[in-house]
Symmetry: C2
Subunit: 493 residues, 2 copies
Amino acid sequence: MTFEYSLTHPLLSENVPRWDAEHDVVIVGFGAAGASAAIEAVQAGADTLVIERASGYGGTSALSGGEIYLGGSGGTPAQRQAGFTDSTEDLYRYLMMAGGRDADEARVRLYAEESLAHHDWLVAQGVKYKNTFLPERMVEPVTDDCLIWSGSEEAWPFSAQAKPCPRGHTPQWTGWGGGQLLMKVLGERALALGAAVRYDTRVLALIVDAEGAVCGTVVRSAGQTAYIRARQAVILCAGGFAMNRDMVRRHAPQLLRSGEPIGSPGDDGSGILMGMSVGGAAIHMNEAFVTLPFYGPESLIKGIFVNERGQRFINEDCYHGRVGYHALQQLGDRIFLLVDQATYQEPAEFTRIGIAAAGETWEEVERDLSLPAGTLTATVETYNRHARNGVDPLFNKAAQWLKPLDEPPFVALDCRVDYAFYSHFTLGGLDTLPTGQVLTEQREPVPRLFAAGRTACGLPRWGGGYSSGLSLADSTFFGRQAGRHAAASARRG
Amino acid sequence: MTFEYSLTHPLLSENVPRWDAEHDVVIVGFGAAGASAAIEAVQAGADTLVIERASGYGGTSALSGGEIYLGGSGGTPAQRQAGFTDSTEDLYRYLMMAGGRDADEARVRLYAEESLAHHDWLVAQGVKYKNTFLPERMVEPVTDDCLIWSGSEEAWPFSAQAKPCPRGHTPQWTGWGGGQLLMKVLGERALALGAAVRYDTRVLALIVDAEGAVCGTVVRSAGQTAYIRARQAVILCAGGFAMNRDMVRRHAPQLLRSGEPIGSPGDDGSGILMGMSVGGAAIHMNEAFVTLPFYGPESLIKGIFVNERGQRFINEDCYHGRVGYHALQQLGDRIFLLVDQATYQEPAEFTRIGIAAAGETWEEVERDLSLPAGTLTATVETYNRHARNGVDPLFNKAAQWLKPLDEPPFVALDCRVDYAFYSHFTLGGLDTLPTGQVLTEQREPVPRLFAAGRTACGLPRWGGGYSSGLSLADSTFFGRQAGRHAAASARRG
């Protein structure tokens, strides 16, 4: 008799032919969430195994900028050095707004209160921050500087509810890609503390006992199937599902408009699927971070975005991911960024933002774009008239970014959704408690199953509120929570 | 020893203490999908039980207008009598657009080809259609007439891709609420054919065998728990989840902006939860039909909708549910419908659309609404200028609805999302084959489990494409498919 199992169907423990290995805590995935979980689990005394399908630690976290969203409690060293006092309440309010209509109050509260301590923990693990501040708007530093404005803190409506403070902390690493450094620190730390690891190993299914408690994983490595027992818990830290285009189609089909998923091959939804296979609920599966990283050059923020009806749709000074979210909500693919001679600078090459039209008058640009007469021109006229008074009554763009677009030649930059670089990753995932424990759709815990990182639906859960550094903040902090609570869960005989 | 089970955790058959009853096919829910499934299952020779938690058949279908989206194959009697020839390809193309980016091609193809036969089947069951056509735009007939324009067929972009044809078929019933008639016919028919029924009975959980095949249900009635074996299959026809506001919060939080869910208490997601409990995938859980049924009076279609920046956002001649979908995509709650003296008529009372401002000039209205100077007025100016030429270059509203809004007094009707009647129900549900068989996230069938109606994600799966009658078309047609295929599934010992 053979017993079926798959990512979507767990193996019953009574049908396990043998246990090839046993550990207290088994962690699936060795990115930032998995490494953070491992560090805490080992330090809590648990015999911990990390299973990773690639040949080394890193995952999608290692492909990132390594930026982490940190603050509160009066401010991190970098914030204080730059003259900012960041209150826990302001961080809390910002994160509640960033989470959207279903922001997880308990999770946000915990993170706001412990974010500064989390910063100190990261430093204690070996993450280095230069603690310098770069006030200009950018995707991430190309220098080894630390602190940047990485969200919509200074932008309406966030600025009206929470005192703005920069919170994006990038490791001391020259050039983009500080995630490599972050993962080297966290990965090596987990190993040095004694976490066991199996690389080049794929998890095929979860194993559950007769009561539905998770008690192990079926894995495959070098052509061999092995059954690994988890005496205490399994933690799923296996990434999101941006690379599984079938899952994207069924849950977030608007992302198919962009051909630029961010992730590693591991972001195939397998962690989410395994969690669902034992009753875990996947929530907000339509939500994603989608961005056209149009700045820097930051002078482009002084331009105005319009859709194919010549209408503005967002305050351009908000985070580029919020612009991207709203760009995808417009009817039609054509999106333009309007600038004049004074504000134009060449967009970064990777953004694939070219010039759609240029002219000595906005009428000429409107005509060149084949926009209905009087649409784009009326939009620019209204914007300029108010910008001269330092206000933007439509979207409350902050005064520092308001400049009448009245110096010819005028340019419409081509930001069409089906061509420019709208990159994305998924925010939907398993519903969890702040402890990391996976919940069913009725919010009952699935016994002995935890999840963190993009396998879970965490702090970031709404595309309109995403800010750089939120995903790694969530992955590292709530990865730690999962590791600690998994290690503390009652041991089974 | 006790064995746990719940909506989110099936009972293993080995732990069933006794079988209180046995049937070939067990159907959960006696609305349109359940009744249609029962009729087919019984006629295919299956001993069929329908379990309903209310005291009679009907469900949410009985609360509806009873309208069914039918056509193709040259046209139904009502279509042909009104002079329309409806081709299968036009119906197919319309339904593919209506399904959005993840329209289910196989399902749409099957329905387009068999829709006329389905009409004849409905008539054969006893549904009466007067076959008269009402050309004016309305939510549903208050008379006992039959055929209406119930979607966006005549509106851009649908009209550009599929030849328009009215397809909303309402039973011969005077006043709103033809769903009562529809359900009386289908419910009585199922009973007359010999379907067994248990009313006032709640399904607590599914029962699965050791291989994961669904083989029964645990039910509760009059304080007693019973175990009902399904020799062949279980069909979940238990409605959507609009009434489960926690589920709405986790999957479609934008719906919380509206306090008007459409449904019966049974639309609590229990069918979807049970399907997920045995590995079924729930897809497009964020999608919903959301509408402000602003017409009739149809002259209001000649008005223009603007958001709180005075921008138009949709061609007002499309289906009111498509207007509602786009209204909810606007930043901010304030939505206005602008009309002039020639186009104003009093909105229906239930819509809670009042007058926000009125004036002798549009400048006055703009000022009264505290909209930024030059926004609403520019929008009206552009619209009027083009309307005089019979075109709408922004949204391609059809010429018959274009009239310059230039006859004072001018009125802004208040359609704010947080006050007016934006009613909604959910479109997300279990992924199924056209046979009704429930699929896992990897699109493997869950053995012996079927679903139909709003427990499944069917023909309608995108708020921007919904049309009246699509949900009942899907429920009745694919309910039948599920009944037939469940009855034909191999009998187990």
